[in-house]
């Protein structure tokens, strides 16, 4: 049964899905054209070098999507993409992308579910089609663009397709509000914590504040989901008035922790490559707080301080690596990095001790030639 929420009704009745599960466009030619472009995009995505194929990670994410989607579960194909930015997106055809950056920024599975719910709401409310139609009206006559490029930009795809017309392409305020409302509702209906919906926004704001190098322009997610303080606050009051105060126990989220612990090096190395230390530090604090394996977190603290290399950082890095080692399950590179730090401070003996440990633990290390060079000195 199709329940339509017209703007007028939205004020009186709860916001609902506009399309049924299994929806395929029948009549509108522009909608069919849109679907075709997205189908092409999906084919390209399937071939992407940055597609994450790990079964563990994919199962975890797919489970969340299916639970939030409920009856719509079979409408979506989920793609986990290797991208350290925070984002998730959905096309009109049900192709959902989740970036690895979302996984390392969530404090709980509920927060991932909140973002998923928001995207599903964009889908069931047909916002992309609406946007195409709005865009045709809005844009002045001008140069010729490949539509896939224009729309792809709006859908946060890492497929290298961009255009300068960002502001025209963001969802309208009304659409964002709809996605917030409906998204939160289906989040709660799936028995996830609805308070996660505004916590997500708060974290984006917190990360931006922690950033050493502020973005000149908002991040990918912020561009299509303007995360103002007002919005986080409005959602918070809405959720509190609808569902009561957040009385959920702060317990470690076993499933999220398992994913983080088992894939931490993979998930965090791209973040480290961004060279954005304020943000990386903010994420490491969260991981420490929620209980990610300390050996792993402290190893990355070490990497972060070492690469940041501000005054006092060398010592902080050394302490972090030592902490990682003490915690019992350090990655082999913790010894290597510590060795290099000793070299830097002129302590060759200490360096050699760590280098030897490194080669002992990882006999197949591909940089053996470099390490042995220092051992022979």
């Amino acid at each position: 049964m199709l329940l339509c929420g017209s703007p007028a009704l939205a004020e009186k009745e709860p916001l609902d899905h506009k399309i049924p599960p299994g929806y395929v466009p029948e009549e509108a030619r522009d909608e069919q054209g849109l679907w075709m472009e997205f189908e092409e995009m999906e084919r390209t995505l399937n071939k992407s070098a940055l597609l994450v194929r790990d079964a563990d990670i994919n199962n975890y994410i797919t489970e969340i999507v299916c639970r939030v989607a409920a009856a719509y579960c079979n409408d979506f194909r989920v793609y986990v993409i290797r991208n350290p930015g925070f984002n998730a997106s959905m096309t009109a055809t049900g192709m959902m992308q989740i970036w690895t950056g979302l996984i390392i920024r969530a404090n709980s599975t509920d927060e991932i579910a909140a973002v998923v719910g928001h995207e599903i709401a964009h889908y069931t409310r047909l916002h992309s089609l609406q946007r195409l139609r709005d865009m045709k009206k809005k844009l002045a006559a001008g140069s010729v663009f490949d539509l896939a490029v224009i729309l792809a930009t709006g859908y946060s795809t890492p497929l290298g397709q961009m255009t300068a017309m960002m502001s025209v392409l963001s969802f309208s305020r009304e659409q964002e509000t709809e996605a917030d409302l409906l998204g939160t509702r289906i989040l709660a209906e799936a028995s996830y914590n609805p308070h996660a919906s505004y916590k997500v926004w708060q974290r984006i704001i917190a990360e931006e504040e922690a950033a050493a190098v502020k973005r000149r322009k908002p991040s990918a997610f912020s561009q299509t989901h303007p995360a103002t303080q007002q919005r986080a606050s409005y959602l918070e009051s809405l959720v509190v008035s609808t569902y009561g105060e957040d009385d959920a126990e702060s317990v470690a989220d076993e499933k999220l922790l398992a994913i983080l612990n088992n894939h931490y090096l993979f998930l965090m190395e791209d973040q480290l490559d961004t060279n954005r230390f304020g943000r990386t530090k903010e994420l490491l604090e969260r991981h420490r707080e929620i209980g990610v394996e300390p050996s792993l977190v402290y190893y990355f603290y070490g990497e972060m301080f070492r690469q940041r290399n501000e005054e006092g950082d060398m010592q902080l890095a050394m302490d972090s690596y030592l902490h990682s080692i003490e915690a019992g399950a350090p990655p082999p590179d913790a010894f290597k990095s510590l060795g290099y730090l000793h070299l830097k401070s002129g302590d060759n003996t200490a360096a050699q001790i760590q280098f030897r440990k490194y080669l002992e633990i990882d006999p197949t290390a591909d940089d053996r030639a470099m390490i042995e060079f220092y051992l022979e000195e």
Binding site: R43, A140, A141, V144, D146, V149, Q161, A220
Partner: protein
Amino acid sequence: MSTQLRSPINGNTHGRTLAIVAAFLLLSGCATTSNVQQIDQLESIGENPRIVLMPPDIRYYLLTASGIPEPNAEWTEAAKTNFSKALLDYADTIGADVKLISADNMSADEIQYETLHSAVGLTLMTHHFGMAKLPSKAGVFDWSLGPGVDTIARNHEADYALFVYYRDYQASGGRVAFAILAAAAGVGVSTGSEHGFASLVDLKTGDIVWFNVVNAGVGELRDADSAAKTVNALFKNIPTARGTTEIE
């Protein structure tokens, strides 16, 4: 999407599509040649030379008054169907068998070579057909996908692989009207365009043995009769089983 993700070094990042469009625009300005034919006769291990058609990258758009090209599923489907049919007919005239590969059924190798071919195609548009010659080449056309393509040869028992790229922007009535108004005001506005290329790769060596670029006025793929003409233009000078006597 990702203003966050654009390369800070290059400024703006744009996809392959924009790059190709730009390359075509560049080409129409000062193209030297638009066709390369390295061999004039197709060879074969089998009876007839066998060509495998990589999924053609063909799209039709409606160019609306606002300037936004609207992808048209109906036209694109028709174009792809007509193209395949016209190609099969055309293949008869050149004495070759054609096998179609479905986009949903590509092996990892095929995908890799499709991607590489895009990079090579763009390179050709810039350095061979365009004015930015690479002096070390001394005019020699020796671009190749490499002998690793023999996996495709074996998968499909084929001698050659054919790659096709085509874009067609059809102006809507509103667009034409707008163009007339604009012209009256002294402003030039595009009323549609079409461009494409086709490339033939020898699957024994990976060498590109034939490449043709088309820009404007090539025809119409949306109906079967016109499609035949378009295919003729797209495959100008393609080597045949018997050997062509026409040399450009």
